[in-house]
């Protein structure tokens, strides 16, 4: 936990605090903050600025019964939603996305497995399981990609990424991350590029189109 060397960049932390980060990236940043004290402290600093901005707002007139309503509801029972704690290598926000259940891995070939946590027009976020010596799949990204190591490690042209490290890649980075020898590498990876099934679908569809 103290050895994290690759952190969340400031602009991403600020956007996360301000709530503008698309959901897939917000999940990775929340997971990284869960593992990284330095980024937690930085996140708190961004919240402090948010608080100052809120304090600086001019008061807007509110309906007279809003206060009465709120005060009358103080004793009303609260609807608690389920909160899932960190389990094994999976931080709380990841367990939340898994709804408390273990990952359901699907094979991508070469021993690589994935579990897509969410995918829509804002991007996708998934768990990846990569055996030692195998390449991290789908690194032909066009936009932003965040990869957080949860178990094991991987290395690429830019360095080595251990548990808790976050790699930020954009279109300018042409890299080939390979899982290091040791424990299989488990990552949480988010991208804003449309989800591609280049390892499964083309193989299924190609014969059809050729006929």
């Amino acid at each position: 936990m103290t050895d994290i060397t690759h952190h969340t960049p400031d602009a991403l932390l600020a956007a996360y605090a301000a709530g503008t980060l698309p959901q897939p990236f917000a999940l990775v940043v929340a997971a990284h903050i869960s593992l990284c004290l330095k980024c937690r402290a930085a996140f708190e600093a961004h919240q402090a600025i948010g608080g100052i901005v809120l304090e600086g707002f001019d008061a807007v007139e509110i309906s007279p019964d809003l206060k009465t309503n709120v005060l009358s509801l103080l004793d009303a029972p609260d609807q608690e939603s389920d909160v899932y704690a960190r389990t094994g290598v999976y931080p709380g926000p990841v367990m939340q996305a898994l709804k408390g259940k273990p990952p359901r891995w699907r094979r991508l070939g070469g021993g690589v497995k994935q579990n897509i946590l969410s995918a829509d027009e804002s991007g996708s976020v998934r768990l990846l399981y990569i055996p030692p010596g195998q390449a991290v799949p789908d690194h032909t990204h066009g936009g932003l990609e965040l990869t957080l190591v949860l178990q094991g490690s991987f290395s690429d042209e830019t360095g080595r990424f251990d548990v808790g490290d976050l790699e930020v890649a954009d279109e300018d980075l042409d890299h080939t991350p390979i899982a290091d020898y040791g424990a299989p590498c488990i990552c949480l990876a988010a991208t804003d590029a449309p989800l591609k099934f280049n390892s499964v679908l083309p193989r299924v569809l190609q014969p059809l189109f050729r006929i």
Binding site: A30, A41, E44
Partner: protein
């Protein structure tokens, strides 16, 4: 307690009274302070008056219900309320559950509650004052950028392109927070 309260800002003292004594008068005072600001804050991003008031109601009820999560050694009241408002805005307007970081174990266990460190609380307030001053000294267009960024009107790419943040002050705020977090974790282990 009285000695500490005398030095604390009224908002912090009121929030502690809500947290520790379920003080309804203190909550009413917090409502009077925050509700009109929250409404302006929420309406700024295009939400209508009626829906803004619904969100204000949810935020203020969360302030009451989750008061045990308020830690003045970690955040100022306004920063805590800001985060609750952001969470609620995302849940309501984007219909998403916002992913949130884990609470630190030491927070959840309430272990240090009895020996609340007044020095640390005052340090957090001091830092916030300095931050506020640093922001107020910025040029108007830089100040406006900060307002836009933390209102949620800028993407992270747009924030990245801005250089107007008072970085020196943030850095000292981060250092203070990091020291406290390390101290907390030492207690847990």
């Amino acid at each position: 307690m009285t000695l500490i309260s005398a030095q604390l800002s009224p908002l912090t003292a009121q929030m502690l009274a809500v947290r520790d004594a379920r003080d309804r008068a203190a909550f009413a005072a917090l409502f009077d302070h925050f509700a009109p600001r929250l409404k302006g804050f929420i309406m700024r991003s295009g939400t209508g008056s009626g829906q803004a008031e619904e969100i204000v109601q949810d935020v203020m009820l969360t302030v009451w219900r989750k008061a045990d999560q308020f830690d003045p050694q970690k955040a100022q009241v306004a920063a805590w309320v800001y985060q609750i408002a952001k969470n609620r805005q995302i849940d309501v307007l984007r219909k998403e559950n916002r992913p949130l970081p884990e609470e630190l174990k030491s927070d959840a266990q309430d272990s240090g509650r009895t020996d609340t460190d007044a020095g640390q609380i005052l340090a957090v307030e001091q830092e916030a004052l300095q931050l506020k001053e640093a922001i107020s000294k910025l040029k108007p267009d830089q100040r406006e950028m900060i307002e836009k960024a933390y209102l949620g009107e800028l993407t992270h790419q747009e924030i990245k392109a801005q250089t107007g943040l008072p970085l020196g002050t943030i850095k000292s705020r981060i250092r203070l927070g990091l020291e406290r977090l390390r101290h907390d974790l030492k207690d847990v282990r």
